[in-house]
Symmetry: C2
Subunit: 148 residues, 2 copies
């Protein structure tokens, strides 16, 4: 079936393109994140090409701190335009959660930005309290100063 290969992807191809392990594909299939692909006569999996994009979405969502169960929910929600009232309810919850995440990320980002353009007036005349130039720090105290 060298001709059919043009449209359907084999396990290793999907894995490579999406940057995931082959075992992960089977794992996601077991978890219900990936629909069971159809098979060749011999039983080899053949995936539709957009599986690659789907995997990338899954991976992105995971990096954002969603569990696989949550990702499954999100995908489910994203697919149907006619959610059940329950699903709609959960979608609203997720949106609030996402807004919180964005707010938190923004806070962290601001803190990092401060770090990056840490303004040290000069090496010999710096008003910062945690300046590495030792004698400047003597006798100063500073509140802990974590992100927020």
């Amino acid at each position: 079936m060298s001709a059919a290969k043009r449209t359907e992807l084999r396990t290793s191809e999907v894995a490579e393109l999406a940057g995931v392990n082959i075992q992960t594909l089977r794992y996601y299939e077991r978890r219900g994140l990936l629909a069971e692909p159809h098979r060749s006569n011999g039983g080899h999996r053949l995936y539709p090409p957009d599986t690659v994009a789907l995997l990338q979405v899954i991976k992105a969502a995971q990096r954002l701190g969603f569990t696989l169960d949550e990702v499954a929910d999100l995908l489910d929600a994203g697919r149907r335009r006619h959610p059940s009232p329950d699903l709609r309810e959960r979608a609203i919850g997720k949106i609030a959660e996402i807004d919180q995440k964005i707010a938190d990320l923004t806070t962290i980002r601001a803190s990092l930005t401060e770090v990056v353009d840490a303004r040290c007036d000069s090496l010999t005349n710096c008003t910062c309290t945690d300046c590495p130039i030792p004698y400047l720090t003597i006798g100063t105290t500073r509140p802990s100063g974590d992100f927020a």
Copy 2:
């Protein structure tokens, strides 16, 4: 030492206030995320009150998909206004990463928003392709339509 208790918090108090398990405090201490608190004469830990806020920051960062090692880095960066060039470099990298996360979250959010205000013209006259009203869906096909 009932008087000293007013300023310093015991393990269970910190855990309760921050909403984490007591074991987690010790775990974070081992991991270097929490500085070793000083001890009572008998060896019991006594935490400064801002530990609670710190824990909340850690938990928030975790929910955003950062590993504990990354959280440690972030905290470290957040504390010092005079980063080493290396730390500065990593901070810049983190900012890019965070921007990506925010972008991804925004995409997912948009998709969920669509779900929430899914406009169904009416129960008998709906143009959506995955409308639950059966006969409307006959003969229609639709691209997969995951988030992006």
